[in-house]
Each structure stands twice: as structure tokens, then as C-alpha cells.
């Protein structure tokens, strides 16, 4: 007897995303998005909205395209040789792939936190104030210090590092480094924060802290997070999107995805039949 998932895979050729992909007041909208690496297609015809101040989690097995999808949102894919994005991605109605758009501005509005904590090999202060400095957000040292403290407080790191702001950021523990990277990202007051498996290199306690932080940040920011951990998606996100082999299979409120998945592939994945 065939597994449900295998049946579904065969059905997939003309698939339509199941669930609530769209919302009334979207921050970002994506229509018919295809992504290619040279000749290889990584993402097929994705249609989805990301609402204001929501936390949306992208889950799916390795190589399903969830990270690629995330990186189309701030055009980090531009740095990959041979990467091409078709379709339409808009933020507040503005086309992100229009030739008129400056990626530098876009990346100031859409911040990113990477899988491996990657603080600059500079002091904690320089790490956080780098963004405000290059974007000219602060004129005086006092302004910069204010941004520094505010960002570190928001990232829940202030108490731990306030006495050693001039020591290297690389000297912190892994979890602290990741929170430093989050502080660095929010220092330029982005509208959206992209997180690419932000906890995969961290221990459970550090992970818990980051998850708490995401919860906090969701009041002020729109957050898109890619994660390998279904528990994490269940804990932090409002909506969950399930990707499979480059296709967006299902988008639904997180609770529903994990209790009553609509699509057989989603069900197969969250029940651990593959992944």
C-alpha cells in the first residue's frame, strides 16, 4: 500500500497551495515566484502574503527551498552567482525587484539574522552601531549610544554586556552572539526581520532565550523565520508555511498546521514520516 505522502507527490504536478496564503493587510506579497540557480529551479510558483507584525515560520525537509525563499525577501540571493528570481515580490506595494530599487535601502528595511552567529570581529559597540553609522541614522555619539542601549535591551543582552561594550563581540557565547546579531539587525529599525534557522547552532537554553526574544519582537516587527525544529515553529509563530521540494504546500495558522494539517504531505512531515 502506498503511503499518503507518495500519492500526494504524484499529484503535485499542478499543485495549489492549501490553506490561508493571503491576508487582508499584507506587509509583503509574493505572486508566482520562481527561483532558479543557473538551470536548476529551486522554488516553484510560490504565492503568499506576510501580514504586518506576524511571525511566520517556514518549515520543511532539507533542500525544500525555505531558506532560498527567505533570501528572496531581502535580495540576499543577489550575491549568489547564477541566481534568478521570476515573479513579483512587493513590500507595502513596492516591487522589490524593480531596477529602480536600491538593495542597500531594502536591506535596511528588511534585516536578517543568519544560521550561524556572525558578529563582526569588532567590539560589541561597533557591531550594534555599524548599521546606524553606515545608514546615517545617528549624528552624534550620544544618539549612537542611545541606539546601542535600546537595541541591546530589546535583544535582552544589555544586562549581560553593559560593562564590556568595548570588548570583541566574538568573545561572547554562541547564544549571546546570536542575540548580538539580532540587536545589530534591529538597531537600524527594520520593518521586517528575516531569521534563517537562528537557533540551529545553539544549545536549548540559548534557544529558549531567542524564542522569548522573538515573541517580544513580534510586537514591533514582522518576522519571517526558517526553522528545522517543528516545536520551535509551534512555539513562536502565528502562521506556518510548509515547503516541499521547492513548492509551497500549505499555509495555515500554526495551531491548525500542527493539529489538523490539511495536506497529506504536511501531515506526513509533522508526524515524522520524513524530514
Amino acid at each position: 500500500m502506498k503511503l499518503k505522502s507518495e500519492q500526494a507527490l504524484e499529484l503535485d504536478e499542478s499543485h495549489v497551495t492549501v490553506g490561508q496564503s493571503f491576508c487582508d493587510n499584507p506587509k509583503m506579497t509574493m505572486r508566482n515566484v520562481d527561483v532558479f540557480y543557473s538551470d536548476k529551479q529551486a522554488i516553484y510558483d510560490v504565492n503568499i502574503d506576510i501580514a504586518k507584525n506576524e511571525v511566520i515560520a517556514m518549515i520543511g525537509p532539507s533542500g525544500c527551498g525555505k531558506s532560498t525563499f527567505l533570501r528572496t525577501l531581502n535580495r540576499m540571493n543577489d550575491t549568489v552567482e547564477g541566481c534568478r528570481v521570476d515573479g513579483q515580490i512587493r513590500m507595502d506595494g513596492q516591487d522589490l525587484y524593480s531596477p529602480k530599487l536600491d538593495v542597500v535601502e531594502l536591506r535596511a528595511r528588511v534585516g536578517m539574522v543568519f544560521q550561524k552567529p556572525n558578529p563582526f570581529p569588532k567590539s560589541i559597540r561597533d557591531n550594534v552601531t555599524y548599521g546606524p553609522k553606515i545608514h546615517g541614522l545617528a549624528d552624534t555619539r550620544v544618539d549612537l549610544d542611545e541606539i546601542l542601549e535600546k537595541s541591546l535591551r530589546k535583544a535582552g543582552l544589555w544586562e549581560e554586556v553593559k560593562d564590556r561594550l568595548d570588548q570583541p563581540g566574538t568573545g561572547l557565547s554562541g547564544g549571546q552572539q546570536q542575540r548580538l546579531c539580532i540587536a545589530r539587525a534591529i538597531a537600524v529599525s527594520p520593518e521586517v526581520i528575516l531569521m534563517d534557522e537562528p537557533c540551529s547552532a545553539l544549545d536549548p537554553i540559548a534557544t529558549a532565550k531567542i524564542e522569548e526574544l522573538i515573541e517580544e519582537l513580534s510586537h514591533n516587527f514582522t518576522i519571517a523565520i526558517v526553522t528545522h525544529s517543528m516545536q520551535q515553529a509551534a512555539r513562536v509563530s502565528h502562521r506556518t508555511a510548509y515547503f516541499h521540494l521547492g513548492k509551497l504546500i500549505e499555509v495555515n495558522p500554526t495551531e491548525q498546521v500542527f493539529t489538523m494539517p490539511k495536506h497529506p504531505l504536511t501531515e506526513a512531515y509533522i508526524t515524522g514520516r520524513f524530514g
Binding site: F114, Y130, G131
Partner: protein, 425 residues
Amino acid sequence: MSDSKTLIKIQHSLTRRNRAEARFRWYGRIAILIGLMAVALLFIDIVSKGHGAFRATYINLDIRYDADLIGIDNLSDTEQLSAGNWQALPKSALRERFPDVSGRRDKRRLNNLLSNGAGFDLKDRLLASPTLLGKTESVWVLADDDIDTYYKSWLDGNAYEARLTDQQIQWIGELHEKGLIELKFNSNLFNRGDSREPEQAGIRGAVMGSFLTLVMTLMLSFPIGVCAAIYLEEFAPKNRWTDFIEVNINNLAAVPSIIFGLLGLAIFINFFHVPRSVPIVGGLVLTLMTLPTIIITSRAAIKSVPPSIREAALGMGASRYQMVLHHVLPLALPGMLTGAIIGMAQALGETAPLLMIGMVAFIVDIPNGFSDPATVLPVQIFLWADSPERAFVEKTSAAIMVLLSFLIAMNTTAVWLRRRLERRW
């Protein structure tokens, strides 16, 4: 049962493996030993030949600064000064030391004890303190190179007589008994330019030439090399053109240096009419030579900067230029500097291309600028090694010692700089 068999087999192979490893270690040690011995041999040979050059033979004379003898009456008249017979001063003083010597031939032999530059040294002395005119002063005067060679070898116990007559040897013996001939520190070696007379020849000109040429090379090759490396690594698209360029940079590194010399001769001198023998053209040619080294090491240094740093910077909204300037360059700089210093050390030791562009000329004056004719240390070594006078043998070795100490100093700086800059975080 089968378990113990496996174990025995493993143990058997283990002894074999251990033996192989021990053997390999010994090969390594022997290889290093051979290398060290070669270096030690080189140093022992050079030092044993060259240490003598740091001292020169001087003869003590009571010099009377007699205006009539020199043929001058006014110390401020430069024409008179340059026409004056300065060599007469030490000659007459020496004749007073040996009043018995008579006859033209004997007198000439006696005069041959002195360096023919001795008179000019006394002229400088007199001009420095004009009150000496008409007075007598005890001065150590530079001896001729044949005397120098003989006296040093005689002190060492295996006298080399060569071109000296028995009479001259006897005079030296007498001077030695009276303590009027001595070995003193050879300041000429460090203060003077090249000369046909070994006792007056120094490396100052070559050192200055090397310095000017290297400054020129560094000023051109470091910025060009670093810019090329950054562009190729961070900005250039990866296509057939950049592949082509990359291959050709590596080709450039493999081109024999004499070819660069010919290129410099054909292009810089014959086409652009840059003057010959000057540090500018030397620097240009050596720039061509060191560029590939600097580009390749700089690219390696840039490549070794983790991509996560680049992503972090770009993700923060830094432009590519800001990413490179703020994050990649500071991290790559130690590697780039090391590459530059190693390139400079190569350039310092380079001889062949400079022969083609006239830096092999016999140049007495010490160069003071980029457009003064100059030679460089390795070429000076080549010139001295080629000279017939025996006294140049130890000069050659001394110049090699100076060159080697510069090279060692530069390489040590490279290592030190790398450690220091890398320790920052």
C-alpha cells in the same frame, strides 16, 4: 577464536604502520637537517670570507698640513682646492717615517703603501677644521688594498704576498713593530659608494639604490596589486575573461625575471624614454615582477575571510564597497602585508632584470633621488665578485652579509606583523 585472529592481524599491521611512521619522521628530520646544514654552510663560508672587510688597515703618520706642499694659499678657493696635490701630504709624511729610502723606484714603492684616496681624506679633515693648516697632527691614514690584504693574512698567520715586494713587506714589518700600522673599523664600507680601489669601495651607494628602488616598487605594486586582488575577488563576475586573467597572472609569476628586464628595456627605456640606470625604471621593472606575488597572496588573504562576515555586512545593508572596506580589508590586511613584504624581499634580491636596464653601471656617487643613476645591492655583489682585485673577495662577502641581514630583517618583520595584527581579536 576468530576475534583473537583479527586482533593478531591488527597488531601485526600495527607494528608495520608504526615502523612506517617512525621511518617517515626520520625522513623529515633528515630533510630539515640537510636544509639547515646548507644554510649553516652558506653562512659559515660567507662570514669567514667576509668578516675581514669590516676592518681596514691604517698607517699612522705625522701629517704636516703644509700649504706649499699642497700648492694652495687660500682654503676658500674651490678651484685651488680641487687642483691641490693632496696626496703629497701622506707621501711626505711616510717618507719621513722611512728617511733611508732613496731612488725613484723605491720611493714609488713606498708611496704604494698608501691608498691613493688618503690625500682626499686629509683634505676633508683640513676643510672640517681649517685651523690645522700649517700644523702637524698624528693621523691614521688608509693603506692600499694590497697592503690591507697582506697585513690581514699575515696577522692570521698565512701571509699572502702577491704583488708586494720584499722591501714593502719589510716596511710593513717595521711599521708593525712600532705599532704604527693597525686594523681599524672600516667606516668606508658603510659610508662610500663604489670604487675601483677596493679599500675605498663601500656599499652606501648600493644600499641607497636598493632602498629607492624598493620604495618605488612598493609604492606601485602594493596599491595596484591590492586593488587588482580586491576587484578580482569581490567585484569581478566569474566568467571566461576573469578566468583568462587569473591564468595569466599565474603565468606572469612564472616568467623568468630576465624577460621582465628585456621588457623594461624595450618599453620603459626605448619607448617611453625613462632614463637608464635610475631607481624609477628599476622600480617599474620590479613592480611587474612582484605584482603577481602580491596579487596572488592578497587574493588568498581575501579568500580566507569567512563568507559569513560578508553576508553579515551585506545583510546590514552595507554596499559591496563598504563591505570590502569595513570588514574584508581589515581582516585580510595581515596576509596582504605579509605578501607585500615577501614580494619586496624577492625584489631586493633580484639581479637579472636590473642588468638589462643599466643598473649594472659603475656608479661612484651615492644616489639621492629616484632619478639619480644607481645600482642595487645584489648587482653590487655581482660587480665586486667580477672584479679581479683580491681585496674584493672579502668585500663581496661583506656585501652579501649586509644583503642577507636586510632580507632576514624583512622576513622577520613579515612574521612579526602577521602575528601582531592577527592577535587583535
